[in-house]
Amino acid sequence: MPDLAFLFGQSLSGLTAAMFLFLVASGLSLIFGVLGVLNFAHGSFYMLGAYTTYQIVQWLGRDPGSFWWAALGAAVSIAILGGLIERFLFRHLYGADVLYQLLFTYALVLILSDAAKVLWGTGQLSVSRPPGLTGAFKLWGTFIPYYNLFVLLLGPTIALLFWLLLTRTRNGRLIRAAALDREMLGALGVNVDRLYTGVFVVGSFLAGLGGALIAPVKAVVPGMDVEIIVEAFIVVVIGGLGSFWGTMLGALVYGQVLAFGILIFPRFSIFSVFALMAVVLILRPWGLLGRPLKS
């Protein structure tokens, strides 16, 4: 007989977690959908986003708006970093064997995590919640931190913007076309290379933003790269690799299953999520909203 206030609080916490996951997983899914590369280093971009936010907050000092500038600065820096990596490294991998691509992105994970250790050390770093969003309010018997509310609102906003970009703009149409047939798009006179870099920049921006926004609710530590990439990967597998709304659905399902799973299997909190992924893989190997792969 858990009371309603508690169930409400639990589902909200699942929703908040889902929004963070969506930010990171949507970039991963976009890059896979268009470029055909499963970028393991996506989690490293998220981690660097968190570290960069910490760094900029340190530089700006006690300025009340410092967190917002830092988050923006971090997301943009990671977007630029992603663009450079695509332009000079990834470009050589298109069309290569999947194994090479995986090995290459895995190498990037190791390099970037060591780089973060060299720059920021191995200690835990902390970013405070921005002023104005530090407290919480009570709704239907449950405390909702203002910052969580902000994330709850920001997630769908970004999803909507992203969806408009993909469906209502020329670039969006080109991106979707590139996902379907790269050669044909090139033959029609579109600069596919530039388009790919653009997609990679957008994907990296989302990862960097995810890392920046998680910094106030989590310790910034080495290892957060691997942690998130596993979760984001589960989300896109559940939702369907390359499917935009699938990623959103996957994140929502992940958040709720984790939040309520611990009530049913308190000793196996992570089990429920993996069980769900296994079921999805058996029944719909292409994910809930994905398309079956062409054989």
Binding site: F6, L263, S269
Partner: protein, 397 residues
Amino acid sequence: MQRRTVLIAILALLLLVPPAADAQKPIKVGFPMPLSGPAALYGDPALKGAQLFVEEINAKGGVLGRKIELLARDSKANADEAVRVSRELILKENVDFLVGTLTSAEGPAVSVVAKENKVVFIAPIPKTDQLTAPDKLHPYIFRVAATTTMEGRSIAEIVAKWNVKRIATISFDYAYGQDVTRAFVEHIKRIKPGVEIVDQQWPKLGEADYTPFINAQMAKKPDAVFSSIWGGHFLTFSKQAKPLGYFDAIKYNLIGAGEIASPEATKAMGAEYPVGVWGNSYDAFYWQDAPPAHRDYTARLSKFLKDDAPSSWSIQTYMAMQFLVEAIKKAGSTDSDKVAKALLGLTVDTPHGKLTIRAKDHQANRGQLYGQTARDPKYPFAIMKPMTYVDPTKFMD
């Protein structure tokens, strides 16, 4: 004779010189410790503690007329790697003893290597009961850290004095979290039968989002919470728990195992620290009622680390090295069998007072500092005030 032949003859003679020169060779101590990755946060100061002791003892001429040489290797907080470097230290570097390891995964793994090679191994930090459990005990393993049993029970002794009835626990679902929580729950039920364990949460090690666990726990309305969310994880936990009103709901009656009140932890968390919760630490440079030797040790460590607020982790390896050297002195030899015998029942005057390694389970009666955290105008971070050293001697069995 040609000059060449003379040279060769001299060389051959040099090689034949009996090991009398051995007395001048240093005593080698292998030191496997996490020196990279997240665990290096604790592994680095742990290495420094041992280095400080070695520097001091060598300045006094060493032991048995021989200097001590510390050979540190990075164990990467990984049992396999710890085993690999320990084997290398014994087989290639011919170390006489092993001191080191940090995690409860590394400690028992290296203990097996020590047993195979008959080399004395002193574990300064791993807490798992398994390390010195009757079926795992062998003549060469010793420990100067508290065990999970001692830590869980020490906390139960403190909570028994609180005016609380409904107790909840939150711990990571792996060896350390399970063992220390079980020790706490069993002991508090024994010494204060009126309490009720109303909720137990088991997030996975390194959980990123504690909110669902926190909500679920608050729904059971506990008066007090036992936590073993250690180190940096506690920062994430409290950042998420604070705005949910968790600490207010339990009136800050949270007591944490796993060194959450160490100066390192409160310093790293700064303004985010939930000041008012209880925690423990191996050491505290600001310890007022410490034995006189502690003040002196802190000053030396402070100078050695060039840090006004020196680490609380160095003391463990400093003590481990102290025990080793005293045992060598007592045995009058660096033979591991003799040193192992000398360690049994050995009492050493450490910076935290007299400690004894028990003969029956090779375990030192090492306590920890416990206290409620509070702000102090003298420091930019929370300290334990008041703080007490909980001596576990009475409840080690």
